[in-house]
């Protein structure tokens, strides 16, 4: 603004000079015209008028000479006035530079504050988000190891919105970085313009006067050095900020990609495990059915000896009853035999008795028939008992065979069940083997992705460290510039020898520190180089 004002003043001054010169020339022309007219009249008029006209011409020439003298001032000033004028001009330049520096510091208060606050805050938010996501991933893995499908899905569901939040935060972060970059670019342009104006101002001071104000000129050159170093620092910061922004952009993109992959993979894993568990349940039900069948067969087989024992006891009891009945048959046979003998004896005795024994003989015959019939009945009973005994023995044999057959059938069914059980076991083994292989491989992939995410998180911390180092360098630079501005106001350029050196020291210190941390600015030209990581 000051330079612009100065340029306007110069323009007005030059225009005034041209105007005055033109007016003087016009006046001279008019006087000459009047003089010529009067001269012609003197050939006919009085001598007194000629004198007046000559006087008027002298006055006009004098006025013109005065005007010319007034507008061509510096060359005709006295040495004291020249020094004074030059000093005033240089003071004007100094004031202009001071205002520029103060203006630059004004920019600093917003631009560097922009670096310090929103970017740092966003970097912290970013790191916090990533840390939360890292915890979520850990809980995801824990849920996976616990085998609880519900907890796994819960962990995954809480994981998804965090990805969007992180993406949004990174976008804001990059936006702020871009703003800072733009502000720096603008400030660099302003500073370049300031230097250009300074050089123009210096060029307007004549060489022969520069020796008279050597101290001020030295001061101005130092100020030029200071501003150039200031410009250099801004350029370095801008370049470093570009590196940081580029790296953050890459890192953020990688981070978001990894997070989304991780979420997708976890989702696939959840779905896979959910489906697999339902299939395993169906398979286990089949195995349980086979096992239940085998258990029932086992109980049946376990009961068989007891049942057989009971049957044998019952048969033995029936057989005992039959045997006891056999004794009775023998008794009947004995009675029948004795009755027969008795009847024979009675018949003999009846024959001896003659006619008197005829009736008795009839009785004896009937008794004998009874004996024979009794014997026949006993034999029939014996035959029936034999048949019953035979039937019991045969029945026992049949029952045994039936039991054996049933056992055979049960054994055959049991073999079939055992075979099914074995197949079920093989299927289950194969199923679990496949399942564990898939889960194990997925876990390894998840762990690998988490490792890469942690690497990106670590890189975000390096970005934060870079910004902090940048902030420290800018802070030192700003302190020096503030001191510089105060010096300009107070001493008009005295005792400023060390400012450029001090600013250079700030710049060199910053570059050295960056180099120490492996973030050489030269490496930023090589965009393909991988980021260098350091532990934090």
């Amino acid at each position: 603004m000051a330079i612009k004002t100065k340029n306007i003043i110069d323009f007005k001054s030059e225009a005034g000079r041209i105007l005055l010169t033109s007016m003087g020339a016009l006046l001279l022309l008019m006087v000459s015209a009047v003089f010529l007219s009067s001269y012609l009249e003197t050939q006919l008029g009085s001598f007194k008028e000629v004198v007046f006209l000559g006087l008027a011409m002298v006055i006009a020439l004098g006025a013109q000479w005065f005007l010319l003298k007034t507008i061509q001032s510096p060359q005709v000033l006295s040495p004291e006035e020249r020094v004074h004028t030059t000093n005033e001009k240089l003071r004007h330049i100094l004031n202009s530079i001071t205002r520029q520096v103060e203006s630059a510091l004004g920019i600093k208060n917003t631009a560097v504050g922009g670096i310090e606050n929103p970017a740092d805050m966003l970097a912290a938010t970013l790191i916090q988000c990533v840390a939360i996501m890292s915890e979520q991933v850990q809980s995801l893995l824990s849920a996976l190891q616990m085998g609880s499908n519900e907890s796994l899905e819960e962990a995954r569901q809480s994981f998804i919105p965090l990805i969007d939040k992180t993406a949004e935060t990174i976008t804001q972060y990059l936006h702020v970085s871009q703003n800072i970059d733009n502000q720096l670019r603008e400030r660099i342009n302003e500073t370049q313009q300031l230097l250009l104006n300074l050089r123009r101002e210096l060029a307007t001071v004549p060489q022969n006067q520069q020796q008279d104000t050597s101290q001020l000129f030295a001061c101005i050159r130092q100020m030029g050095d200071v501003l150039e170093t200031h410009l250099l620092i801004d350029n370095v910061v801008k370049k470093q900020l570009e590196v940081v922004t580029h790296d953050t952009n890459d890192s953020a993109f990688t981070l978001i990609t990894l997070m989304r992959d991780l979420s997708d993979q976890a989702g696939n894993l959840v779905r896979y495990i959910t489906e697999t568990i339902s299939k395993i349940n169906a398979m286990e039900n089949g195995v349980d059915e086979s096992v239940g069948y085998i258990v029932r067969i086992g109980h049946f087989i376990q009961d068989i000896p007891e049942k057989i024992q009971r049957d044998i006891q019952a048969i033995q009891s029936a057989s005992g009853v039959i045997d006891s009945l056999s004794y009775l048959v023998d008794s009947i046979k004995e009675i029948s035999f004795q009755t027969d003998i008795l009847a024979v004896n009675a018949a003999i005795q009846a024959a001896h008795a003659g006619d008197a024994g005829l009736g008795f003989k009839i009785v004896a015959d009937e008794v004998r028939k009874l004996a024979v019939n009794s014997n026949k009945a006993a034999e029939m009973i014996e035959a029936g008992l034999d048949t019953a005994r035979h039937t019991i023995h045969e029945g026992l044999k049949f029952k045994f065979l039936e039991e054996v057959m049933q056992q055979m059938n049960e054994a055959a069914q049991m073999m079939d069940s055992v075979k099914k059980l074995q197949e079920g076991h093989e299927d289950m083994r194969q199923y679990y083997k496949t399942l564990f292989t898939v889960i194990n491989q997925s876990n390894m992939k998840l762990a690998q992705d988490i490792s890469e995410i942690l690497g990106s998180i670590q890189y975000q911390d390096i970005v934060r460290q870079r910004i902090e180092r940048m902030q420290a360098a800018m802070q030192r630079r700003n302190e020096l510039l503030q001191e510089f501005a105060i010096q300009l106001d107070v001493t008009s350029g005295n005792n400023m020898d060390d400012f450029a050196t001090a600013l250079n020291a700030v710049l060199n210190g910053y570059l050295e520190e960056e180099s120490y941390h492996g973030n050489s600015l030269n490496s930023s030209d090589d965009g393909d180089q991988p980021p260098k990581f350091e532990l934090f």
Partner: protein
């Protein structure tokens, strides 16, 4: 055309696949189980492996895991018809989770095979 290794314990299907792929101009070798498959893989260094899942000695899941551990970019197509309670769907989904380039459920057509092979080889 590509070098292709087919691993399957069913001889008829193995031969049929070999015939189909050879007709398309591929150089095809076969193996009868996972162990044999890994041996042939080391010798033949194929560009594509087509492997069954349920096999004796070393199953397809083990083969896929081992091959992908060696080289995550190796092209593999998993084929399966399932067995008893283990469905083809489960086997193929498991293979997909491990990172194979293609899956085919038995039985499949020649066109399906050709399409899967071209996709796996990036043709």
């Amino acid at each position: 055309m590509a070098r292709i290794l087919i691993i399957d314990d069913e001889e008829q299907l193995r031969d049929l696949l070999k015939q189909m792929l050879s007709r398309d101009g591929h150089e095809v070798v076969t193996a009868f189980d996972g162990v044999d498959g890994m041996r042939v893989f080391n010798q033949f260094n194929p560009e594509l492996v087509i492997t069954d899942i349920i096999m004796p000695n070393k199953d397809g899941i083990e083969v896929i895991t081992e091959l992908l551990c060696r080289n995550p970019n190796v092209a593999i197509i998993a084929i399966s018809g399932g067995r008893r309670a283990i469905t083809a769907e489960f086997n193929l989904e498991s293979a997909e989770m491990l990172g194979v380039k293609g899956i085919l459920s038995k039985p499949f057509t020649r066109d399906q095979l050709r399409e899967a092979v071209q996709h796996a080889l990036g043709l």
